[in-house]
């Protein structure tokens, strides 16, 4: 049983009447890292928005554990089942790194004691020192903010991690560190879906979905052993 499944998913931007995604059918299983690649404007971020429940598909379904997410409480879905790392981090600027993480846990309804300590520990895991964790997000660099965003997405232990360019602001070494964190999470049984331009990230993924121009109608799929496979997808650029 797939953890997350797209069935004939299409999306049209209402404002421009432009079809961005057309009849996509993907499956995301537990314990794997997925990379969604494609040119700018191919609909990668739109796909992420649909998967996170921030947008609703024009056609088709998104199934989470065989349940259509449109029938689920979207707030609960976003705060408990999927963790989203946004491209622009979307952190609360007037809060510290720890407070951002703790707030996310509060929203998820986690009753755990010592949330602050747990958040500090989590931030430490993604490479933020205790001192940096106490700083307001506004005073952190892009890379540090990215780490806070990842820690926030991990804080409530979601089943799926959705990340839009999660290593975009990080150097090569840190990229690898982050990817190893994702690998660890995948090994714990989580499904990691990464939208990326980075070849390093794509290379580390178990499965790569490539969104192409609709005329090509193709996507590469690579199995866990790194062998290329063909998987038809329909995408409109």
């Amino acid at each position: 049983m797939s953890l997350l499944k797209l069935e004939n998913l299409s999306y049209i931007y209402d404002s421009a009447k432009v079809k961005v995604l057309d009849q996509i059918s993907y499956e995301f299983d537990e314990g794997k890292i997925y990379a969604v690649i494609g040119k700018s404007g191919a609909g990668k971020t739109t796909l992420l928005s649909l998967l996170s429940g921030l947008a609703s598909p024009s056609e088709g379904k998104i199934l989470f554990r065989e349940k259509d997410i449109s029938s689920l409480d979207k707030y609960k879905y976003r705060s408990q089942y999927v963790g989203v790392v946004f491209q622009s981090f979307n952190l609360l600027q007037n809060l510290t790194a720890v407070e951002n993480v703790v707030l996310s846990m509060d929203i998820a309804g986690i009753k755990q004691k010592n949330k602050k300590e747990f958040a500090t520990e989590l931030l430490g895991k993604v490479g933020l020192s205790v001192d940096e964790s106490k700083r307001r997000v506004l005073k952190l660099s892009g890379g540090q903010q990215q780490r806070v965003a990842i820690a926030r997405a991990l804080s409530y232990n979601p089943d799926v991690i959705l990340a839009d360019e999660p290593t975009g602001n990080l150097d090569g070494e840190t990229q690898e560190e982050i990817m190893s964190i994702f690998r660890g999470l995948a090994n714990e049984g989580k499904s990691i879906i990464l939208v990326t331009h980075s070849p390093i990230v794509a290379k580390s993924a178990d499965v790569v979905y490539e969104l192409h121009d609709l005329s090509k109608n193709k996507a590469k799929k690579k199995d866990a052993q790194g062998k290329d496979a063909q998987n038809k997808v329909q995408a409109v650029v």
Binding site: K76, R78, S79, V84, F86, S88, N90, L92, A108
Partner: protein, 535 residues
């Protein structure tokens, strides 16, 4: 709980914005507290004054109604029919008054008997009619012996009492009927008041009269029947009283009025004792057949009905009518008139406070709503992030409302404190200016008239230290003797628990109304749009 913590954190990290909101709320809170306090003080003063006054009423002939009934619309007034109507109307007898005293609303009924006497060489009335100065009980009284004309005036203004003497002797049925002593206007300075219902010829006299005639407690003096000089009575002074409020105004414009109208020449005794005197006089006069005109002492009975409260007074009219009181009689209460007059400045101020409150709340509410809208627009991104990471819009709204409540209530508590501190001086200051305005209007009227106005509005002012109020004399007809009415010109406390509760209620409503704008915006925002636009 995290919503509350988040709200607190948000307030502490956005000081500038919250201080601005706080200042506005503080101004609204102080203004509202003062306005509510003024209203409360007015209501309390009204209530306590009403509780403290003894509501009494009298039944009198309704001349205006009779004149109106005698006049046909569109036809010239018919004097003859009016005279006929007046001739048929007479004051109620004691028996009739006692019938209406049985009305359920009447708490007590008392009555007085008034008669008029002349003095003797040893007992002369105080008369200041030839002086032009205004004297009061506390000032030096200039007195002179009344002229023969005054001693034997025809009593046009004294009902049907024949010749009017220089002294007015009033007999009271009960102690409670002596309202001047009950309310403290008059106090015994020497001796004691005669026993209630006594038939002994004992009386109390004013301190001025005692001083003028060298009388003291135990002294015996003689009074003469103004219709029959051979008929005399002897009274023993049981007590001497001082009237703290009665003001005597005499002068050239007041010529022609008897000394009997001067309160200093009023002698008080028991109804039974005076009734015995007048009954004897009437019997003597009936026995003497040689004279054409009656030589008996004239007497006039007046009844006073007391009520527990205003409602009882208001219901008395219907009850008295049911017991047979004719339409040609009217029921009036001078206590209520005086009470309403004393409250006028405070009521004016209360009205002003109400309008002020409405304006402050309207303007303050609009400013708060606008500020909130700007605040929410400024925090649009925050709303987008919170909803994107799974916080429900309702909870986001709740956080914003909590923030506003925390700021508002902190400022309302401070505002209530400041308002409570300043409301009393502000109320008193405004009240004094209201009283001053009323007095200035009266003074202007006096200037315009070229003399004191005698229609019962205002003549002069005195300060009554006991009631911390400024008094305006309400002129009796002719303005010879005026009785003071106290304006309430000072309140000691204004802000109470009710005001605080009202203030809190207004705070809650104001916060909810201004939060509505925030809630509407939060509900309208879609996280994806906000975050995409920012990107």
């Amino acid at each position: 709980m995290y919503i509350f913590k988040n709200a607190l954190r948000s307030i502490s990290r956005s000081k500038g914005r919250n201080i601005l909101v706080g200042i506005i709320v503080l101004v609204i809170a102080v203004s509202t507290c003062v306005a509510l306090s003024i209203r409360e003080a007015a209501a309390k003063a009204k209530e306590s004054t009403l509780d403290s006054i003894q509501i009494t009423a009298q039944i009198s002939v309704d001349r205006q109604s009779m004149m109106k009934n005698s006049t046909t619309t569109g036809v010239a007034p018919d004097r003859e029919s009016m005279q006929a109507a007046f001739a048929g109307a007479s004051g109620l007898s004691l028996d009739e008054m006692q019938v209406y005293a049985k009305a359920a609303s009447v708490k007590a009924f008392s009555y007085t008997l008034t008669s008029s006497f002349n003095g003797t060489d040893a007992m002369k009335p105080i008369d200041t009619s030839s002086t032009s100065s205004t004297t009061s009980s506390s000032s030096t009284t200039t007195a002179k012996t009344p002229t023969n004309t005054q001693q034997g005036q025809s009593a046009g203004g004294f009902g049907k009492m024949g010749a009017q003497g220089s002294f007015t002797v009033i007999g009271y049925s009960t102690d409670s009927a002596m309202t001047a002593f009950v309310n403290g206007t008059s106090t015994i300075t020497s001796g004691a008041i005669f026993s209630e219902g006594t038939s002994d010829n004992v009386c109390v006299i004013s301190d001025e009269l005692a001083l003028y005639n060298s009388l003291s407690v135990g002294s015996v003096f003689t009074l003469v029947n103004p219709n029959n000089t051979a008929e005399t009575i002897q009274l023993t002074v049981a007590g001497i009283y001082k009237n703290s409020q009665a003001t005597v105004t005499t002068g050239n414009t007041m010529g022609g009025f008897s000394a009997a109208s001067d309160p200093a020449n009023e002698i008080y005794m028991s109804y039974n004792a005076l009734k015995a005197i007048t009954t004897t006089s009437i019997a003597n006069a009936a026995a003497a057949t040689s004279t054409t005109a009656s030589t008996a002492l004239r007497e006039q009975v007046a009844g006073t009905y007391s009520f527990a409260d205003v409602e009882s007074y208001n219901s008395f009219d219907a009850q008295a009518r049911a017991l047979g009181l004719a339409d040609t009689y009217t029921i009036t209460s001078s206590d209520l008139t005086s009470y309403q007059q004393s409250l006028q400045p405070l009521e004016n101020l209360s009205k002003f406070a109400t309008y002020f409150l409405i304006v402050v709340l309207l303007i303050g509410g609009i400013i708060l709503i606008v500020l909130n809208i700007f605040n929410i627009r400024e925090r649009k991104y925050e709303i987008g992030v919170l909803t994107a990471i799974g916080m429900k819009k309702g909870k986001v709204s709740l956080q914003f409302i909590t923030e506003l409540f925390l700021v508002t209530f902190t400022c309302i508590i401070i505002g209530a404190g400041v308002g409570a501190a300043v409301s009393v001086p502000i109320t008193n200051s405004l009240l004094k200016s209201q009283v001053s305005s009323a007095q200035a209007a009266a003074a202007s009227q006096t200037t315009s008239f070229g003399r004191s106005n005698t229609n019962g509005t205002t003549n002069s002012t005195t300060t009554n230290s006991k009631n911390t109020g400024t008094s305006n004399n309400v002129g009796a007809p002719g303005a010879i003797v005026t009785k003071t009415t106290n304006y309430i010109s000072e309140v000691s406390s204004a802000t109470n628990f009710t005001v605080i509760l009202q203030l809190m209620g207004i705070g809650i409503i104001l916060t909810l109304v201004s939060s509505c704008a925030a809630v509407i915006f939060v509900l309208r925002y879609e996280p994806l749009k906000i975050l995409t636009n920012r990107d």
